[in-house]
Protein backbone atom coordinates (compact mmCIF):
# COMPACT_ATOMS: atom_id res chain seq x y z
CA UNK A 1 0.00 0.00 0.00
CA UNK A 2 1.91 3.03 -1.23
CA UNK A 3 -0.92 5.53 -1.03
CA UNK A 4 0.03 6.72 2.49
CA UNK A 5 2.89 8.66 0.86
CA UNK A 6 0.20 11.10 -0.14
CA UNK A 7 -1.92 10.71 2.96
CA UNK A 8 0.91 12.13 5.02
CA UNK A 9 -0.17 15.50 3.69
CA UNK A 10 -3.77 15.15 4.84
CA UNK A 11 -3.87 17.48 7.88
CA UNK A 12 -6.97 15.81 9.35
CA UNK A 13 -4.94 12.74 10.22
CA UNK A 14 -2.82 14.58 12.76
CA UNK A 15 -5.14 17.07 14.35
CA UNK A 16 -8.60 15.52 14.30
CA UNK A 17 -9.74 18.30 12.02
CA UNK A 18 -13.22 17.65 10.75
CA UNK A 19 -16.17 19.69 9.72
CA UNK A 20 -19.33 21.12 11.29
CA UNK A 21 -22.63 21.91 9.58
CA UNK A 22 -23.89 25.20 10.98
CA UNK A 23 -27.35 24.56 9.52
CA UNK A 24 -28.19 21.35 11.38
CA UNK A 25 -25.44 21.36 14.01
CA UNK A 26 -23.91 17.98 13.09
CA UNK A 27 -20.17 17.36 13.32
CA UNK A 28 -18.21 15.18 10.89
CA UNK A 29 -15.00 13.28 11.20
CA UNK A 30 -13.60 12.32 8.74
CA UNK A 31 -14.50 15.71 7.21
CA UNK A 32 -17.28 15.95 4.66
CA UNK A 33 -17.74 18.64 2.03
CA UNK A 34 -21.44 18.00 1.93
CA UNK A 35 -23.78 17.55 4.90
CA UNK A 36 -25.71 14.31 4.28
CA UNK A 37 -28.54 15.75 6.39
CA UNK A 38 -28.97 19.22 4.82
CA UNK A 39 -27.21 18.56 1.48
CA UNK A 40 -27.13 21.84 -0.49
CA UNK A 41 -28.78 23.78 2.35
CA UNK A 42 -25.90 22.91 4.66
CA UNK A 43 -23.18 25.33 5.75
CA UNK A 44 -19.95 23.42 6.25
CA UNK A 45 -17.13 24.97 8.29
CA UNK A 46 -13.91 23.43 9.62
CA UNK A 47 -13.84 22.20 13.19
CA UNK A 48 -11.05 20.84 15.37
CA UNK A 49 -12.26 18.17 17.76
CA UNK A 50 -11.30 18.09 21.43
CA UNK A 51 -10.13 14.51 20.94
CA UNK A 52 -11.99 12.87 23.78
CA UNK A 53 -14.60 10.19 23.46
CA UNK A 54 -15.64 6.68 24.43
CA UNK A 55 -15.33 3.17 22.98
CA UNK A 56 -18.48 2.05 21.12
CA UNK A 57 -17.22 -1.39 20.07
CA UNK A 58 -13.87 -3.11 19.54
CA UNK A 59 -11.96 -6.18 18.42
CA UNK A 60 -8.47 -7.54 18.90
CA UNK A 61 -6.80 -8.11 15.53
CA UNK A 62 -4.70 -11.30 15.50
CA UNK A 63 -4.20 -11.65 11.72
CA UNK A 64 -3.34 -8.50 9.79
CA UNK A 65 -1.94 -7.40 6.46
CA UNK A 66 1.88 -7.22 6.22
CA UNK A 67 1.83 -3.58 7.09
CA UNK A 68 0.31 -4.17 10.53
CA UNK A 69 1.39 -7.75 11.26
CA UNK A 70 4.26 -6.68 13.54
CA UNK A 71 1.73 -4.95 15.81
CA UNK A 72 -0.52 -7.98 16.36
CA UNK A 73 -2.37 -8.44 18.58
CA UNK A 74 -3.66 -4.88 18.51
CA UNK A 75 -6.93 -3.37 19.63
CA UNK A 76 -9.15 -1.89 16.92
CA UNK A 77 -12.15 0.16 17.99
CA UNK A 78 -14.92 2.46 16.93
CA UNK A 79 -14.75 5.56 19.12
CA UNK A 80 -17.52 8.12 19.52
CA UNK A 81 -16.11 11.63 19.96
CA UNK A 82 -17.74 13.89 22.54
CA UNK A 83 -19.08 16.08 19.70
CA UNK A 84 -20.91 13.09 18.18
CA UNK A 85 -19.09 11.59 15.19
CA UNK A 86 -17.58 8.12 15.27
CA UNK A 87 -14.31 6.91 13.80
CA UNK A 88 -12.30 3.71 13.48
CA UNK A 89 -8.98 3.73 15.32
CA UNK A 90 -6.38 1.62 17.06
CA UNK A 91 -6.34 1.82 20.84
CA UNK A 92 -3.04 2.15 22.66
CA UNK A 93 -3.81 -0.38 25.41
CA UNK A 94 -3.64 -4.09 26.08
CA UNK A 95 -6.41 -6.38 24.80
CA UNK A 96 -7.39 -7.13 28.43
CA UNK A 97 -7.88 -3.46 29.23
CA UNK A 98 -10.51 -2.46 26.67
CA UNK A 99 -14.22 -2.29 27.52
CA UNK A 100 -17.27 -0.82 25.83
CA UNK A 101 -17.88 2.70 27.14
CA UNK A 102 -14.22 3.17 28.18
CA UNK A 103 -13.24 6.89 28.02
CA UNK A 104 -10.37 7.54 25.60
CA UNK A 105 -8.35 10.45 24.32
CA UNK A 106 -6.56 11.06 21.01
CA UNK A 107 -2.78 10.56 20.89
CA UNK A 108 -0.32 11.22 18.07
CA UNK A 109 1.38 8.02 16.96
CA UNK A 110 3.30 6.33 14.19
CA UNK A 111 0.75 4.31 12.21
CA UNK A 112 3.17 2.39 10.01
CA UNK A 113 5.80 2.61 7.32
CA UNK A 114 6.35 1.47 3.79
CA UNK A 115 8.63 -1.47 4.37
CA UNK A 116 11.58 -1.50 6.77
CA UNK A 117 13.29 1.62 5.51
CA UNK A 118 10.34 3.30 3.80
CA UNK A 119 8.45 6.45 4.55
CA UNK A 120 6.97 6.55 8.05
CA UNK A 121 3.45 7.79 8.33
CA UNK A 122 1.73 9.14 11.34
CA UNK A 123 -1.78 9.64 12.57
CA UNK A 124 -4.12 9.47 15.50
CA UNK A 125 -4.66 6.58 17.85
CA UNK A 126 -6.63 6.67 21.10
CA UNK A 127 -5.49 5.81 24.61
CA UNK A 128 -7.45 5.15 27.81
CA UNK A 129 -7.98 8.33 29.87
Amino acid sequence: MSVPRFWRKIPQRYNLEGTHCETCGRYFYPPRNLCPECRREGTIVNHTFKGVGKVVTYSVIRTASDQFSALTPYVLAIVELEEGPRLTTQLVCSPEEVTIGMPVKAVFRKIGSEGESGVIYYGTKFAPM
Binding site: M1, P30, S59, I61, R62
Partner: protein, 388 residues
Protein backbone atom coordinates in the same frame (compact mmCIF):
# COMPACT_ATOMS: atom_id res chain seq x y z
CA UNK B 1 -41.57 -4.39 -17.59
CA UNK B 2 -41.36 -7.99 -18.75
CA UNK B 3 -41.30 -10.93 -16.37
CA UNK B 4 -37.91 -12.62 -16.21
CA UNK B 5 -36.93 -16.24 -15.57
CA UNK B 6 -33.73 -18.14 -14.90
CA UNK B 7 -33.39 -20.84 -17.58
CA UNK B 8 -29.93 -22.21 -16.90
CA UNK B 9 -27.35 -22.47 -14.11
CA UNK B 10 -23.73 -23.56 -13.85
CA UNK B 11 -21.18 -23.55 -11.07
CA UNK B 12 -17.64 -24.81 -10.65
CA UNK B 13 -16.65 -26.65 -7.52
CA UNK B 14 -15.43 -23.98 -5.09
CA UNK B 15 -11.99 -24.45 -3.57
CA UNK B 16 -8.30 -23.80 -3.88
CA UNK B 17 -7.63 -24.17 -7.59
CA UNK B 18 -3.87 -23.75 -7.84
CA UNK B 19 -3.82 -25.72 -11.08
CA UNK B 20 -6.50 -23.70 -12.84
CA UNK B 21 -6.75 -20.14 -14.12
CA UNK B 22 -9.36 -17.43 -13.73
CA UNK B 23 -10.58 -17.82 -17.31
CA UNK B 24 -10.59 -21.60 -17.07
CA UNK B 25 -12.95 -21.39 -14.09
CA UNK B 26 -15.48 -19.02 -15.60
CA UNK B 27 -15.57 -20.86 -18.91
CA UNK B 28 -16.50 -24.05 -17.04
CA UNK B 29 -19.33 -22.30 -15.19
CA UNK B 30 -20.53 -20.47 -18.29
CA UNK B 31 -20.57 -23.57 -20.49
CA UNK B 32 -22.49 -25.50 -17.81
CA UNK B 33 -25.10 -22.73 -17.61
CA UNK B 34 -25.47 -22.50 -21.38
CA UNK B 35 -25.79 -26.28 -21.72
CA UNK B 36 -28.30 -26.33 -18.88
CA UNK B 37 -30.38 -23.75 -20.79
CA UNK B 38 -30.04 -25.67 -24.09
CA UNK B 39 -28.65 -22.55 -25.74
CA UNK B 40 -26.37 -21.93 -28.68
CA UNK B 41 -23.75 -19.27 -27.91
CA UNK B 42 -24.91 -16.89 -30.63
CA UNK B 43 -28.32 -16.57 -28.95
CA UNK B 44 -26.72 -14.65 -26.08
CA UNK B 45 -27.44 -10.91 -26.24
CA UNK B 46 -25.32 -9.63 -23.33
CA UNK B 47 -23.22 -10.61 -20.33
CA UNK B 48 -22.81 -9.12 -16.88
CA UNK B 49 -19.87 -10.35 -14.83
CA UNK B 50 -19.54 -9.86 -11.08
CA UNK B 51 -15.92 -9.56 -9.99
CA UNK B 52 -14.54 -7.72 -7.00
CA UNK B 53 -10.81 -7.47 -7.36
CA UNK B 54 -9.15 -9.27 -10.26
CA UNK B 55 -6.76 -6.30 -10.38
CA UNK B 56 -5.43 -7.21 -6.92
CA UNK B 57 -5.81 -10.99 -7.01
CA UNK B 58 -4.55 -11.80 -10.53
CA UNK B 59 -3.50 -8.34 -11.79
CA UNK B 60 -6.00 -8.45 -14.63
CA UNK B 61 -8.58 -5.78 -15.39
CA UNK B 62 -11.02 -5.50 -18.29
CA UNK B 63 -12.83 -8.59 -17.12
CA UNK B 64 -16.03 -8.12 -19.17
CA UNK B 65 -14.22 -8.39 -22.50
CA UNK B 66 -11.91 -11.15 -21.26
CA UNK B 67 -14.87 -13.31 -20.29
CA UNK B 68 -16.80 -12.65 -23.50
CA UNK B 69 -13.67 -13.53 -25.50
CA UNK B 70 -12.90 -16.80 -23.71
CA UNK B 71 -16.59 -17.73 -23.70
CA UNK B 72 -16.16 -17.82 -27.49
CA UNK B 73 -18.25 -14.73 -28.03
CA UNK B 74 -15.69 -12.18 -29.22
CA UNK B 75 -16.87 -12.67 -32.81
CA UNK B 76 -20.45 -11.91 -31.73
CA UNK B 77 -19.41 -8.52 -30.30
CA UNK B 78 -22.01 -8.73 -27.53
CA UNK B 79 -21.96 -6.13 -24.75
CA UNK B 80 -20.06 -7.61 -21.80
CA UNK B 81 -19.95 -5.56 -18.61
CA UNK B 82 -18.09 -6.05 -15.35
CA UNK B 83 -20.06 -5.18 -12.24
CA UNK B 84 -18.24 -4.40 -9.01
CA UNK B 85 -19.66 -3.98 -5.53
CA UNK B 86 -17.15 -5.90 -3.42
CA UNK B 87 -18.70 -9.18 -2.18
CA UNK B 88 -22.08 -8.17 -3.66
CA UNK B 89 -20.64 -8.02 -7.20
CA UNK B 90 -22.38 -11.26 -8.21
CA UNK B 91 -25.76 -10.22 -6.83
CA UNK B 92 -25.54 -6.93 -8.67
CA UNK B 93 -24.44 -8.61 -11.93
CA UNK B 94 -27.55 -10.77 -11.66
CA UNK B 95 -29.72 -7.75 -11.00
CA UNK B 96 -28.30 -5.92 -14.03
CA UNK B 97 -29.04 -8.96 -16.20
CA UNK B 98 -32.63 -9.09 -14.90
CA UNK B 99 -33.12 -5.36 -15.50
CA UNK B 100 -31.72 -5.69 -19.01
CA UNK B 101 -34.20 -8.43 -19.91
CA UNK B 102 -37.11 -6.83 -18.04
CA UNK B 103 -36.60 -3.57 -19.91
CA UNK B 104 -36.75 -5.27 -23.28
CA UNK B 105 -33.24 -4.15 -24.16
CA UNK B 106 -32.02 -7.78 -24.30
CA UNK B 107 -33.57 -11.22 -24.46
CA UNK B 108 -31.04 -13.84 -23.44
CA UNK B 109 -28.48 -12.60 -20.92
CA UNK B 110 -25.75 -14.38 -18.96
CA UNK B 111 -25.03 -13.21 -15.43
CA UNK B 112 -21.78 -14.60 -14.08
CA UNK B 113 -19.50 -14.17 -11.12
CA UNK B 114 -15.89 -15.19 -10.72
CA UNK B 115 -12.97 -14.69 -8.34
CA UNK B 116 -9.52 -16.27 -8.19
CA UNK B 117 -8.24 -15.51 -4.70
CA UNK B 118 -5.54 -18.08 -3.95
CA UNK B 119 -2.93 -16.72 -6.37
CA UNK B 120 -1.77 -14.26 -3.68
CA UNK B 121 -0.66 -14.83 -0.09
CA UNK B 122 -2.90 -14.28 2.93
CA UNK B 123 -1.45 -10.88 3.71
CA UNK B 124 -2.25 -9.54 0.25
CA UNK B 125 -5.73 -11.08 0.18
CA UNK B 126 -6.39 -9.58 3.64
CA UNK B 127 -5.35 -6.21 2.27
CA UNK B 128 -7.39 -6.58 -0.94
CA UNK B 129 -10.51 -7.55 1.00
CA UNK B 130 -10.04 -4.57 3.34
CA UNK B 131 -10.68 -2.50 0.23
CA UNK B 132 -14.35 -3.52 0.48
CA UNK B 133 -14.53 -1.14 3.45
CA UNK B 134 -13.33 2.48 3.63
CA UNK B 135 -9.64 2.26 2.71
CA UNK B 136 -8.85 5.81 3.75
CA UNK B 137 -10.53 5.88 7.16
CA UNK B 138 -10.83 2.20 8.15
CA UNK B 139 -8.07 0.30 6.32
CA UNK B 140 -5.51 3.01 7.09
CA UNK B 141 -5.91 2.40 10.81
CA UNK B 142 -5.28 -1.35 10.56
CA UNK B 143 -8.90 -2.43 10.21
CA UNK B 144 -9.15 -5.85 8.53
CA UNK B 145 -12.36 -7.20 7.11
CA UNK B 146 -12.77 -9.84 9.84
CA UNK B 147 -11.91 -7.05 12.31
CA UNK B 148 -14.83 -4.94 11.17
CA UNK B 149 -17.31 -7.82 11.42
CA UNK B 150 -15.76 -8.67 14.78
CA UNK B 151 -16.68 -5.16 15.96
CA UNK B 152 -20.26 -5.85 14.81
CA UNK B 153 -20.14 -9.07 16.84
CA UNK B 154 -18.78 -7.32 19.96
CA UNK B 155 -21.57 -4.73 19.75
CA UNK B 156 -24.22 -7.41 19.17
CA UNK B 157 -23.03 -9.64 22.02
CA UNK B 158 -22.91 -6.65 24.38
CA UNK B 159 -26.43 -5.52 23.53
CA UNK B 160 -28.31 -8.77 22.97
CA UNK B 161 -26.43 -11.36 24.99
CA UNK B 162 -25.62 -13.73 22.13
CA UNK B 163 -23.65 -16.73 23.44
CA UNK B 164 -20.43 -18.13 21.99
CA UNK B 165 -22.27 -21.42 21.35
CA UNK B 166 -25.14 -19.75 19.51
CA UNK B 167 -22.68 -18.00 17.21
CA UNK B 168 -20.82 -21.27 16.61
CA UNK B 169 -24.11 -23.00 15.82
CA UNK B 170 -24.32 -20.97 12.58
CA UNK B 171 -21.05 -22.52 11.37
CA UNK B 172 -22.03 -26.03 12.51
CA UNK B 173 -25.36 -25.80 10.64
CA UNK B 174 -23.77 -24.43 7.47
CA UNK B 175 -21.07 -27.10 7.43
CA UNK B 176 -23.80 -29.75 7.89
CA UNK B 177 -25.53 -28.39 4.77
CA UNK B 178 -22.27 -27.94 2.87
CA UNK B 179 -21.35 -31.58 3.53
CA UNK B 180 -24.37 -32.35 1.32
CA UNK B 181 -23.34 -29.99 -1.49
CA UNK B 182 -20.95 -31.32 -4.15
CA UNK B 183 -19.68 -27.83 -5.08
CA UNK B 184 -18.77 -26.83 -1.51
CA UNK B 185 -15.14 -26.16 -0.60
CA UNK B 186 -15.55 -27.88 2.79
CA UNK B 187 -17.81 -30.92 2.55
CA UNK B 188 -17.28 -31.84 6.15
CA UNK B 189 -19.46 -31.62 9.22
CA UNK B 190 -18.00 -29.89 12.27
CA UNK B 191 -18.91 -29.68 15.96
CA UNK B 192 -19.35 -26.71 18.30
CA UNK B 193 -15.90 -27.52 19.75
CA UNK B 194 -14.30 -27.22 16.29
CA UNK B 195 -15.49 -23.63 16.15
CA UNK B 196 -14.89 -22.57 19.75
CA UNK B 197 -11.40 -24.13 19.88
CA UNK B 198 -10.22 -22.73 16.55
CA UNK B 199 -7.64 -19.94 16.33
CA UNK B 200 -8.74 -16.41 17.12
CA UNK B 201 -8.67 -14.19 14.02
CA UNK B 202 -10.24 -11.01 15.38
CA UNK B 203 -11.88 -11.33 18.80
CA UNK B 204 -14.50 -12.69 19.22
CA UNK B 205 -14.37 -14.26 15.74
CA UNK B 206 -12.37 -17.44 15.34
CA UNK B 207 -11.18 -19.18 12.19
CA UNK B 208 -14.36 -21.26 11.92
CA UNK B 209 -16.51 -18.13 12.24
CA UNK B 210 -15.01 -16.90 8.96
CA UNK B 211 -15.65 -17.79 5.34
CA UNK B 212 -12.46 -18.89 3.58
CA UNK B 213 -10.37 -17.60 0.68
CA UNK B 214 -11.72 -19.41 -2.38
CA UNK B 215 -11.51 -19.76 -6.14
CA UNK B 216 -14.67 -20.33 -8.10
CA UNK B 217 -17.13 -19.22 -10.72
CA UNK B 218 -20.87 -19.40 -11.23
CA UNK B 219 -23.14 -18.41 -14.10
CA UNK B 220 -26.86 -18.24 -14.81
CA UNK B 221 -28.88 -17.52 -17.94
CA UNK B 222 -31.96 -15.29 -17.78
CA UNK B 223 -34.64 -14.81 -20.40
CA UNK B 224 -38.12 -13.31 -20.73
CA UNK B 225 -40.60 -15.59 -18.94
CA UNK B 226 -42.77 -15.75 -22.07
CA UNK B 227 -40.07 -17.62 -24.01
CA UNK B 228 -38.46 -19.48 -21.09
CA UNK B 229 -40.47 -22.67 -21.68
CA UNK B 230 -38.87 -23.01 -25.11
CA UNK B 231 -35.57 -23.67 -23.35
CA UNK B 232 -36.49 -25.50 -20.17
CA UNK B 233 -39.41 -27.31 -18.54
CA UNK B 234 -38.55 -25.73 -15.21
CA UNK B 235 -38.01 -21.99 -15.60
CA UNK B 236 -37.64 -20.19 -12.28
CA UNK B 237 -39.37 -16.82 -12.15
CA UNK B 238 -37.62 -13.78 -10.68
CA UNK B 239 -40.33 -12.37 -8.41
CA UNK B 240 -38.28 -9.45 -7.10
CA UNK B 241 -34.95 -7.75 -7.54
CA UNK B 242 -33.85 -5.13 -5.01
CA UNK B 243 -30.69 -3.26 -4.14
CA UNK B 244 -29.78 -0.80 -1.40
CA UNK B 245 -26.72 1.07 -0.23
CA UNK B 246 -25.45 2.54 3.05
CA UNK B 247 -22.39 4.33 4.40
CA UNK B 248 -19.10 2.82 3.22
CA UNK B 249 -17.63 2.93 6.76
CA UNK B 250 -19.05 0.88 9.60
CA UNK B 251 -18.44 3.72 12.09
CA UNK B 252 -20.94 5.94 10.24
CA UNK B 253 -23.86 3.52 10.56
CA UNK B 254 -26.99 4.41 12.52
CA UNK B 255 -26.72 1.09 14.38
CA UNK B 256 -23.49 -0.97 14.32
CA UNK B 257 -25.24 -4.35 14.34
CA UNK B 258 -28.16 -3.63 12.02
CA UNK B 259 -27.35 -3.54 8.32
CA UNK B 260 -29.87 -0.90 7.21
CA UNK B 261 -29.15 -1.74 3.55
CA UNK B 262 -30.28 -5.33 4.25
CA UNK B 263 -33.46 -3.99 5.85
CA UNK B 264 -34.12 -1.67 2.90
CA UNK B 265 -33.32 -4.22 0.18
CA UNK B 266 -35.40 -6.86 1.98
CA UNK B 267 -38.40 -4.54 2.33
CA UNK B 268 -38.18 -3.50 -1.32
CA UNK B 269 -37.96 -7.13 -2.45
CA UNK B 270 -40.99 -8.20 -0.39
CA UNK B 271 -42.97 -5.22 -1.67
CA UNK B 272 -42.05 -5.93 -5.30
CA UNK B 273 -42.95 -9.62 -4.99
CA UNK B 274 -46.13 -8.84 -3.03
CA UNK B 275 -45.10 -11.46 -0.49
CA UNK B 276 -44.64 -11.69 3.28
CA UNK B 277 -41.83 -13.26 5.31
CA UNK B 278 -43.90 -16.35 6.04
CA UNK B 279 -44.24 -17.02 2.29
CA UNK B 280 -40.49 -17.68 1.95
CA UNK B 281 -39.58 -21.38 2.12
CA UNK B 282 -35.79 -20.96 2.37
CA UNK B 283 -33.17 -18.24 2.09
CA UNK B 284 -29.52 -17.99 1.07
CA UNK B 285 -27.99 -15.19 3.17
CA UNK B 286 -24.56 -13.61 3.14
CA UNK B 287 -22.72 -15.41 5.99
CA UNK B 288 -19.20 -14.14 5.31
CA UNK B 289 -18.88 -14.44 9.11
CA UNK B 290 -21.19 -16.24 11.54
CA UNK B 291 -22.31 -12.90 12.99
CA UNK B 292 -23.33 -11.81 9.48
CA UNK B 293 -25.90 -14.61 9.27
CA UNK B 294 -27.25 -13.66 12.71
CA UNK B 295 -27.73 -10.05 11.55
CA UNK B 296 -29.09 -11.08 8.14
CA UNK B 297 -31.99 -13.22 9.38
CA UNK B 298 -33.04 -10.38 11.69
CA UNK B 299 -32.55 -7.60 9.14
CA UNK B 300 -34.62 -9.53 6.57
CA UNK B 301 -37.36 -9.95 9.19
CA UNK B 302 -37.32 -13.72 9.72
CA UNK B 303 -37.01 -13.20 13.47
CA UNK B 304 -36.97 -10.25 15.87
CA UNK B 305 -33.86 -8.15 16.55
CA UNK B 306 -31.75 -9.83 19.18
CA UNK B 307 -33.37 -13.24 18.83
CA UNK B 308 -31.43 -14.82 15.95
CA UNK B 309 -29.06 -16.66 18.31
CA UNK B 310 -31.90 -18.46 20.05
CA UNK B 311 -33.68 -18.93 16.69
CA UNK B 312 -30.57 -20.64 15.29
CA UNK B 313 -29.93 -22.69 18.44
CA UNK B 314 -33.49 -24.05 18.33
CA UNK B 315 -32.98 -25.30 14.77
CA UNK B 316 -35.39 -22.88 13.07
CA UNK B 317 -32.78 -22.13 10.37
CA UNK B 318 -31.67 -25.75 9.84
CA UNK B 319 -32.89 -28.06 7.08
CA UNK B 320 -36.41 -29.08 8.09
CA UNK B 321 -36.72 -26.00 10.32
CA UNK B 322 -39.12 -23.07 10.10
CA UNK B 323 -36.96 -21.20 7.54
CA UNK B 324 -33.92 -23.14 6.30
CA UNK B 325 -31.02 -20.69 5.92
CA UNK B 326 -28.06 -21.40 3.63
CA UNK B 327 -29.02 -24.85 2.44
CA UNK B 328 -26.00 -24.66 0.10
CA UNK B 329 -23.68 -24.47 3.10
CA UNK B 330 -23.42 -20.71 2.71
CA UNK B 331 -20.23 -18.78 2.26
CA UNK B 332 -18.92 -20.54 5.37
CA UNK B 333 -18.84 -24.05 3.93
CA UNK B 334 -19.11 -23.47 0.14
CA UNK B 335 -16.31 -20.93 0.29
CA UNK B 336 -16.53 -17.30 -0.73
CA UNK B 337 -14.97 -16.43 -4.10
CA UNK B 338 -16.23 -12.89 -3.53
CA UNK B 339 -17.47 -11.99 -7.03
CA UNK B 340 -19.06 -15.41 -7.60
CA UNK B 341 -20.99 -15.78 -4.34
CA UNK B 342 -24.10 -13.81 -5.36
CA UNK B 343 -24.51 -15.95 -8.49
CA UNK B 344 -23.89 -19.19 -6.57
CA UNK B 345 -26.75 -18.18 -4.25
CA UNK B 346 -29.02 -17.92 -7.31
CA UNK B 347 -27.81 -21.35 -8.54
CA UNK B 348 -28.67 -22.93 -5.18
CA UNK B 349 -32.10 -21.28 -5.12
CA UNK B 350 -32.87 -22.53 -8.62
CA UNK B 351 -31.78 -26.08 -7.70
CA UNK B 352 -34.05 -25.99 -4.64
CA UNK B 353 -37.04 -24.70 -6.62
CA UNK B 354 -36.49 -27.32 -9.33
CA UNK B 355 -36.38 -29.99 -6.62
CA UNK B 356 -32.84 -30.95 -7.64
CA UNK B 357 -30.97 -30.13 -4.42
CA UNK B 358 -30.43 -33.77 -3.45
CA UNK B 359 -29.72 -34.49 0.22
CA UNK B 360 -30.22 -30.84 1.18
CA UNK B 361 -33.57 -30.45 -0.61
CA UNK B 362 -36.20 -28.37 1.21
CA UNK B 363 -39.44 -30.32 0.90
CA UNK B 364 -42.04 -28.60 -1.26
CA UNK B 365 -39.90 -25.48 -1.80
CA UNK B 366 -41.86 -22.96 -3.86
CA UNK B 367 -40.46 -19.55 -2.95
CA UNK B 368 -36.78 -18.82 -2.22
CA UNK B 369 -34.76 -15.72 -1.49
CA UNK B 370 -31.14 -14.60 -1.84
CA UNK B 371 -29.28 -11.89 0.11
CA UNK B 372 -25.83 -10.74 -0.97
CA UNK B 373 -23.82 -8.13 0.99
CA UNK B 374 -20.94 -5.95 -0.19
CA UNK B 375 -18.44 -4.74 2.39
CA UNK B 376 -19.81 -4.48 5.91
CA UNK B 377 -23.23 -3.61 4.49
CA UNK B 378 -22.61 -0.67 2.15
CA UNK B 379 -24.32 -2.59 -0.67
CA UNK B 380 -27.01 -5.26 -0.44
CA UNK B 381 -28.77 -7.13 -3.25
CA UNK B 382 -31.90 -9.16 -2.45
CA UNK B 383 -33.84 -11.37 -4.84
CA UNK B 384 -36.96 -13.50 -4.55
CA UNK B 385 -37.68 -16.46 -6.83
CA UNK B 386 -40.62 -18.75 -7.44
CA UNK B 387 -41.56 -21.71 -9.58
CA UNK B 388 -43.03 -20.47 -12.87
Amino acid sequence: MRDVAVIGIGCTKFGEWWDRSFRNLFVEAGVKAIEDANLAGEQIDAMYVGNMSAGRFIEQEHIGALIADYAGLASEHIPATRVEAACASGGLAFREAVISVASGMSDIVVAAGVEKMTDVDTSLSTDALAGAADREWEGFTGATFPGLYAMIATDYIHRYGLTREQLAQVAVKNHYNGARNPIAQFQKEITLDTVTNSTLVADPLRLFDCSPITDGAAAVVVAPLEVAKKFTDTPIKVLATAQASDTIALHDRRDISTLDASVAAGNRAFQMAGLERKDIDFVEVHDCFTIAEICAIEDLGFCKKGEAGKFTEEGATALGGQIPVNTSGGLKSCGHPVGATGIKQVCETVLQLRGEAGKRQVDGAEIGMTHNVGGTGATVAAHIFGRA
